[in-house]
Symmetry: D2
Subunit: 347 residues, 4 copies
Amino acid sequence: MKQDATEDEIQAVVERVEGAGARTHRINGDELTVLGVLGDREHVMRLELEGAPGVDKLVPILKPYKLASAQIRHGEPSVFEIGGRKVGGTHFALIAGPCTVESREQTLGTAHTVAAAGATLFRGGAYKPRTSPYAFHGLGQEGLRLLAEAKAETGMPIVTELMDARDLDAVLEVADVIQIGARNMQNYTLLTELGRAGRPVLLKRGLSATLEELLNASEYILKEGNEQVLLCERGIRTFETAYRFTLDLTAVPVLKQLTHLPVIVDPSHAAGRRDLVQPLSLAAAAVGADGIIVEVHPNPDEAICDGPQQLVADEFAAYAEKVAQAAAVAGKTISTPAAEPAATAAA
Amino acid sequence: MKQDATEDEIQAVVERVEGAGARTHRINGDELTVLGVLGDREHVMRLELEGAPGVDKLVPILKPYKLASAQIRHGEPSVFEIGGRKVGGTHFALIAGPCTVESREQTLGTAHTVAAAGATLFRGGAYKPRTSPYAFHGLGQEGLRLLAEAKAETGMPIVTELMDARDLDAVLEVADVIQIGARNMQNYTLLTELGRAGRPVLLKRGLSATLEELLNASEYILKEGNEQVLLCERGIRTFETAYRFTLDLTAVPVLKQLTHLPVIVDPSHAAGRRDLVQPLSLAAAAVGADGIIVEVHPNPDEAICDGPQQLVADEFAAYAEKVAQAAAVAGKTISTPAAEPAATAAA
Amino acid sequence: MKQDATEDEIQAVVERVEGAGARTHRINGDELTVLGVLGDREHVMRLELEGAPGVDKLVPILKPYKLASAQIRHGEPSVFEIGGRKVGGTHFALIAGPCTVESREQTLGTAHTVAAAGATLFRGGAYKPRTSPYAFHGLGQEGLRLLAEAKAETGMPIVTELMDARDLDAVLEVADVIQIGARNMQNYTLLTELGRAGRPVLLKRGLSATLEELLNASEYILKEGNEQVLLCERGIRTFETAYRFTLDLTAVPVLKQLTHLPVIVDPSHAAGRRDLVQPLSLAAAAVGADGIIVEVHPNPDEAICDGPQQLVADEFAAYAEKVAQAAAVAGKTISTPAAEPAATAAA
Amino acid sequence: MKQDATEDEIQAVVERVEGAGARTHRINGDELTVLGVLGDREHVMRLELEGAPGVDKLVPILKPYKLASAQIRHGEPSVFEIGGRKVGGTHFALIAGPCTVESREQTLGTAHTVAAAGATLFRGGAYKPRTSPYAFHGLGQEGLRLLAEAKAETGMPIVTELMDARDLDAVLEVADVIQIGARNMQNYTLLTELGRAGRPVLLKRGLSATLEELLNASEYILKEGNEQVLLCERGIRTFETAYRFTLDLTAVPVLKQLTHLPVIVDPSHAAGRRDLVQPLSLAAAAVGADGIIVEVHPNPDEAICDGPQQLVADEFAAYAEKVAQAAAVAGKTISTPAAEPAATAAA
C-alpha cells in the first residue's frame, strides 16, 4: 500500500481480494502497510489492483507459467527423442543447414556435409519471414520437397519454419521439428495450432521478449498437450550498432533454472557475420546450452539470403570439432543417432 | 572497403555489383577505398556484400519502403475519411473506448459518454492478445455484436483488433478501422490479408521495432492496394522498471518526416497507469500526433482487463477539453463529423 | 523463499534478519513461504540475502532515497529562487543559450536575444565533455569570463557545466546553477563536492540511468546540505537509430510523483536535430515539466559544436511564444523576474 | 544529400567541405546525390554538416580512435607484462579476489587461496562506488594497506579501483593495475590523469556504452602516452529483469577485431548471482576473452558488499580448473609468473 493509504483503502483492498476467493495477510510496518495475498495468481491478477486507491504496487511471487516451470518436473530436465536423436540433459544438439533452401544441389550437398560432420538435425527454410515485402520469401512447397529428399538421403531429422497456419499440413509432412521465428513468438493463434499438432517445436525468443514472456509463449503450446518445446535464444535488440543483435547468453543458465525445457542458441542470426559464429558457438556450448542452430552454405557468397552469416560447408567439420570440445567443458556430448550406430557413417 | 582490402577484392565486389545490373563509383581515399553503388536497393541488398572479402560495411542510402515514404506524396500528408470523420493533416483523431468489451451496459454507456465529449472514433476489444494462455481473451463474436450496437446507437465508427485471419470476415462486418497489435506488427501473413481487405488499418509499432521496421510492415499492407494505414506509437521496451513501457514521442515528428501516413499515439498501453494518461496525451497532442487512442471505462476498478490504465468515463469530457487545447498548440483540431454538424449532438 | 526452501533455511534467514535489528513476518502459502521484513532498508540490504540458501528474491518496498522523496515534503513541490527567478511549482524555466561559448559576439548576441524573448536563465558551456579526446573541449576560463559579461549585460542568471572538481572555484564565481552532465551523473566525488558548494545544481540523467539511480545521485548532493537540485531528462539510449537519443517524457510525470525536486527537459541533446527541438519542447511543456533547456546560436551552421541541434536565434522569440502556450496547457507560466518587473529591461 | 536537395545546397556543402581542407567526390544517382568526403575526420565532423540545408545524413567511414585501433599494430594483439605475468595474445588472465577489502583475515586468506589455484592477478576494492550515498564505501587507505600486505605475502600483482583523482598517489603505491569502474568510463578528467600516471589501467565499459565509446575512452588514456589499457566487458543494461545486467559476449570477438588491446570479462558484476558466475566464466573464456575478473570470498554470506555474487573461496580451485579448460578451447592458457619458467610448463 502507499505510505498515505487510509484504513478504508486498505480494507477495500482486503475485501476485493477475499471476495475473489483469496486470503490476505497484513503486515503493519512503521512507514507503510504490506498486504500478502494468497490464492490463484490469475484470479488475483484479474482484480488489477495496481490502480486501486491506496495501492502502491503489486509484486507477483508465483510464476505465471506452470507446465514450463522447472518445478513441475522437480528440477529434472526434459530429454526429447527426435528422429532417433536425444536432445536435452547431456545430449547436445548440433543443428545445421542452409538459411534458405535454394536448390537441390545446395540442399543435398549441405545435408551430406553436415551429416558427415556429425550434426544432430538438419535445418533449412522453405518459408522465410522478411522485413521488406519486396525481399525473397522462400521456395515454399518446393523447398519442403527438397528437405524431404535431404532427409531421405541422409536420415537426418528436419527443422523448418512455419509462418502461416494454412501451411501447417504441408510442413507436418516433412518437419521433425517446427520452428517458430522470433517475430511470431507471440502469434498466439499459431502457437495454439502447434500445441494441437503434436510435433516438437523450436520456439525462438522475440527480439525484446523477456524470459517470462518466452516461457508464457511456450505455455500456449504445452497447454494444448504438446510437451516437446525447445526454447531458442537468438539475440536481443540493444543500443549497440556494431553488430546486428546482442546474443544473451546469460539467458541460458537462467532458463535452465526456470524451466525443464531444453535451451538452444542461434549464433548465426544473432551476429549476422560469419566471423563471429564460431566464437559465439563455443561460448554457447560452454555456458551450458542444450544445442546450437547454425547456418551453413556450400558457397555463402552466392546465397540468396543471409550469406554473410552462413558458415562455409567445407569448414564445418573443423567447426563441429571445436563445438564438441566446448560442449564437453559443460559436460555435454553432441547427440547422434545412438540406436543406429551405422547410420551416421552411411550418411 | 576495409583498410587492408586488396585490389583484387575491390575488383571482385565491382564485378558482383555490376553483374547485378547496378553501377559502381569508386572513391580512393588516403586510408581506404569507398565504393558508391547506384541501382535497385533490393537487388544490391540481395548480393549481401557485407560478408564479402575486403568489405567493411554497407550503408544503404535509399529507404527500403516506397509506398509509405513521404516522397511518394511529395511531402503532402495523407488525410483519410473514416465513417465521415477526417483523420490526418490538421484533423486530430480522438479515439476512445473500453480496453475490452465486457457487457452491453459498459459498452453502450462508454460509447455515449465519449461521443458526447466529441471523440472521433470508438474503440473496443473483442479479441484480446494476452501474454498468459490462462488470461481472459475477450468476448469474441459477442463482443463484435455489442460494438455494432454501439455504432448503431451513436453513429461512431468502430476501431477493433484482429488477431487471427480466420476472424477477418466477422470483424469486417463491424470495424471501420482494424487494429493490429504490437505483437503482430511483423505477422506478415496477417498484414497481407489486411492489405487485400481494403479497410483502414491501425498498425501498432512492435515493442522494440525500429521506425524503419514499422514502415516496412505498413508497406506489406500498402503493397496489396490498401492505402489507408494509420501508424501507432504505443511505447517501447527499455531498461526502466518504474513504468510499463517508455512512450517514444520523438518517433512522432520523425515519422511525420519519413511518411505521409497519419501517426496516432496510445498513452494508455504505454503507461499502464491512469494517472500518467492525461500528461502523456497532452504531450502526444503537443508533439504533433494526428490522434490518440485511449481507454475509458465507467468503473475501471471493476474492469476485467487493464483497469488500472483506463480513464474514468465521468472524467472524460474534462480530459478531452485539455487534449483539444494541446492539439491546438500543434495546429490541430479534434475531428468530428463535419458534414453532419448535428450528428454529434444527436449521438 | 524458493518453493523448495527447507524449514532450516527459512529459520536461518529469520535469524539473520532479526540479528540485524529488523523484524520478520511470515506468510505460509500453499506453494511457498514469504517473509516480510520490517526495518531499516540499508541494514537489511547489507545482509545481501539474495544469495542465501532457500531465498528466491528480495523485493524492496521502501525507496532508498529520502531527502529527494516526495514524502519528505508531503507531496508539496519545491520552488527555488535563482537570481530572482522562481523555478518549480507553476513557474516554468525557459533556459536557453549556446551549446558552447565560442566568442564574445556569439555569447552576448545570443544572451540579448533570449533575454528579450523572456528566457528565464542563460546557458552556455565553457567546459565541454566530448566522446573523442581529439574534439574541441571548450574555452575554459575564457568562456567563464564571457558568461560573466553576458550576465552583467542582461541580468540573466547563468547555467554552466562543471566536469572537474578542480574547476569548482572558477565556476562558482560565475554560475548561478552548476550543470552536471549525463556522463558524470554517477561521479560521486563530484556530486559530493557540489553538495558542499551550496549552489543550485542541474543534474542530468545518465544515458541509461533509471529514475531511482537519478534520485540516488541527487541524494548525494542533498545529503551534504544543498537542497537545490534540478533534475534533467535528456534522452535515453535505445535501439532506435533514426535519432540520437529517445526523449523519455514518461519520466516527467513519474518523477513529479516520486520527488519534490523540479524536473527540466533537454530536447536539444536528446534529438540532436534542430527540426525536432520545437515539437519535443512543446511536448515537454505539455507533459508537465518544470522547464526546458535549449541550445540557441546566431548562426548554427558555423557553430563549433552541436550546430545541427541549436535553434536559430532569430527564430527564438516565436519558439518561446509556442512553448508558453504549451506550458499554459499544463498550468504553468514561463518564469521571469516577477518581483522586479522593470528588471529585465534594466538588466 | 536529401532527395530534394537543390544544386545550390549541394554546392554549398562542397564549398564548406573544401574550405575545411578536405576533398569531395560527387556521385549522381537517379534518385539522389551522394558526396564522398576525403580528409581528416575531426575537421570534417566539426563542420557538423548534418543540419545543413539539403543534407540527409553523414556516414563516417573512418573510426574516431587511432591509438586503440587494430590497424595501428597491423592486427597484432598487444601483450602486456604486469608484475611478471603476461596478459594478452595466448596469455589468459585469471583475476580474482574479494569485491571489497573487509579485514586482514578475509583479504590474506582469499589471496592465498586464489594464488594457490593459479590466479594471475589479485583484485580487491578499497574505494567502492555505490548507488546510494548511505551504503558502505570501502575501507579506503586501510584497504590499500591490506592489499599491499597480500601482495607482499603472495607475490600477486594487485588490481584495485580508483574513483577520485585525489587518491591517485595512494593507489599508485599499491596497484599494479588501476581499475576504472563502469560509471567513470567517461570521467574524462580521471582518464587523462591515468594516462599520465603510466600504470596499466583496467577500463570497464559503461552500462550502456557502445564499443566505439569504450574505445574512445581508452584513447583518452593512450593519448597521454600510457599504452597499457585492458578493456573490460561487465554487462550492459537491457529490458530483462531476471538478471542484473546482460553480459555482452558478442563484444569480445568484435573488440578483438577493432583493437589490439586485451579484453577482459567480469561475470560477477554482470550476473549479480553466484550460480551464474561459472557458466558465464566458461563462456567468456570460450568466446576468446583475454581474461576474466571474478569475486571470491571465504564466506560470501557474511560479505559486506555483493556477497551473493562472490564465489566461495573453497570452491575456487575447481572453478579455475574448468576455466582453464574453456580457455584451452579458444587456444589460451592461464597466465602465471614468467620469471619462473618451470611454473608455466608445470601448469
